[in-house]
Symmetry: C2
Subunit: 341 residues, 2 copies
């Protein structure tokens, strides 16, 4: 891929400043684009955000450019890292495929480097979050880390021996699409029975709606919360009710937690990590989700009793993990590609 | 762990000879112990074998010592590598657990180094086979290799970026114990629904016996082959009949192949390897097994159409992969632990 000419500021900076310098991280979500200036210790020094402007590549690029301009007015920035749902090529230059955005083999880095005259690094949002948790969060010092982000689906990533393990073509970590129930629920990926159809915010909402539609006596709190319209029930509502003590909502979270634990046991069989870090919105349920997950993990771990089990801990960095990781990855890759020399 | 004193021959050898030197590989199976002198290009220069002498550690150690003595009479040996079913610690010194042998936290390396006055390295048999295929066989030059050994169960191992990925505690690669059918067939590991209960030699035998017991018209060839005693049917018999053209046996292999392909698609979702190498006895079925596996893989791969799919190839080295890999791993670790300096 052709490398665009760089703004002269790049080469003129003090090398130490560049090495320890600041990076901008941008997390492109389905509804909002969150950005921040991140230092070498993972602290967010300044923040900015915009609504996600539809799905057209040019519009998203424009918003990214605005955010970078806004944030770099106050700081000397060495690189920009962008995290988004989707598959990036191994080089961090091209979006192969993004489920929510209209990017198909989009040379996003090249476009943005031309537009911004800055170094750009693209990463998958789950990879970025895992990297942040390993560098600065709940996965620090872990030699074999598996990160699970529980949102509408399941995001996954691995940091092995201090390196993001992204597979041969950069698309590893799609744990949510391991089939654990052949012939089971239909998944957006086109298969049936994927793990994320059983252990995610979407799964929680679907199960709750089904319970509410049956108008069971146990579902009355749920129905009250949505003016008796089952179709309005979401995972977030179930989580809220569960935290307020609704027994049915707690049972629904327990079911999802058990599927979570079963899938983690499967990952432990394959990968034997020292730590699982669990993040994402569904984690707001806290121990209502994680306690049953730990029980199911312990019950389903192959070889239990003959091996040290992995720790299962909650993510530290919350919703900013993605932008922190994207920023730090851009800094790391800026170094490894020799730009800092 | 205490390091035993070494025979002086170790330090007196010419460094180049040691680096390129010969290693003995020993593969401890349930019925036989196979050994060989292996050179730095993975060639087996001399072979020896014994029946597996029961399960007691001392007896197995005695047989290993005999084999090493026999083989080293003719060659100058720099190290001895041992592969066995079971979990070895990360250091290659202790057998944590072995399903077929009575080893529990057995300091096998220390015992053997004392007995043999030679450097020993222990490895899991599936890891050893994968290493051999990556170094000398069907997985050469692959940056992300997943190896599957289909025997009575499923052995698994990964070579990532030129390194055996063994996990945090050395027990990664137990792909066969990923649960793909919750509540399904009981597995020897204590769980239900493990992949190896659907895609292995044991699974093939079990399905064939069930078919034969029902005395279905399609099962008559199978029944003839075992004097109408369904309990005598094994996976090997089914494979043989399938190769001779028996339609029912071919269907049984096709079913197992489909489960194989589904599990490979799950592994591709998680690990995104460039190549799957499939070895083990069940591979004698060749394309009768692998063709349906490839079809099921292509049908179940998440993101199909938006990603390069992994190759699925047959192992090159046959039943000697384990001893070749064990030998080579002992050579590599002898170097990395600084013994060659």
């Amino acid at each position: 891929m052709r490398r665009p000419r760089l703004a002269p500021t790049f080469r003129q900076q003090d090398p130490r400043l560049r090495r320890r310098g600041l990076a901008i991280g941008i997390d492109i979500g389905g509804t909002k684009v969150a950005a921040g200036v991140v230092d070498a210790e993972g602290r967010v020094l300044r923040r900015a955000r915009r609504a996600t402007p539809g799905t057209r590549p040019r519009e998203v690029e424009r918003v990214i450019a605005e955010l970078v301009e806004e944030l770099s007015a106050h700081h000397r920035i060495t690189s920009v890292g962008i995290g988004a749902a989707g598959w990036m090529d191994l080089d961090g230059g091209t979006v192969l495929f993004s489920p929510h955005l209209a990017w198909r083999n989009e040379p996003l880095r090249e476009n943005l480097e031309k537009l911004l005259r800055r170094r750009i690094y693209l990463s998958n949002d789950a990879d970025a979050a895992a990297w942040a948790e390993w560098r600065f969060g709940a996965g620090k010092h872990e030699s074999r880390l598996v990160c699970i982000t529980l949102g509408t689906g399941i995001g996954g990533a691995m940091v092995m021996s201090g390196r993001l393990e992204r597979g041969r073509y950069g698309v590893a970590g799609e744990f949510g699409h391991q089939i654990i129930m052949p012939g089971g629920h239909r998944c957006e990926c086109g298969n049936r029975g994927c793990w994320e159809q059983y252990a995610s915010g979407n799964a929680l909402g679907r199960e709750a709606r089904e319970l509410a539609r049956a108008n069971s006596p146990v579902a009355q709190e749920l129905l009250r919360a949505v003016d008796r319209d089952p179709e309005r029930i979401t995972g977030a509502i179930v989580t809220e009710l569960a935290r307020e003590g609704d027994a049915a909502s707690q049972e629904l979270l327990e079911d999802v937690g058990e599927w979570l634990g079963l899938g983690l046991a499967n990952l432990a069989a394959a990968l034997d990590p020292g730590t699982f870090v669990i993040g994402g919105g569904l984690c707001d349920a806290g121990e209502l989700l994680l306690a049953p997950a730990r029980r199911a993990f312990a019950r389903n771990l192959t070889g239990r009793g003959f091996r040290p089990p992995a720790r299962i801990v909650r993510a530290d960095l919350g919703p900013e993990a993605g932008l922190i990781g994207a920023a730090d990855l851009s800094r790391v890759h800026l170094r490894s590609r020799g730009w800092a020399h």
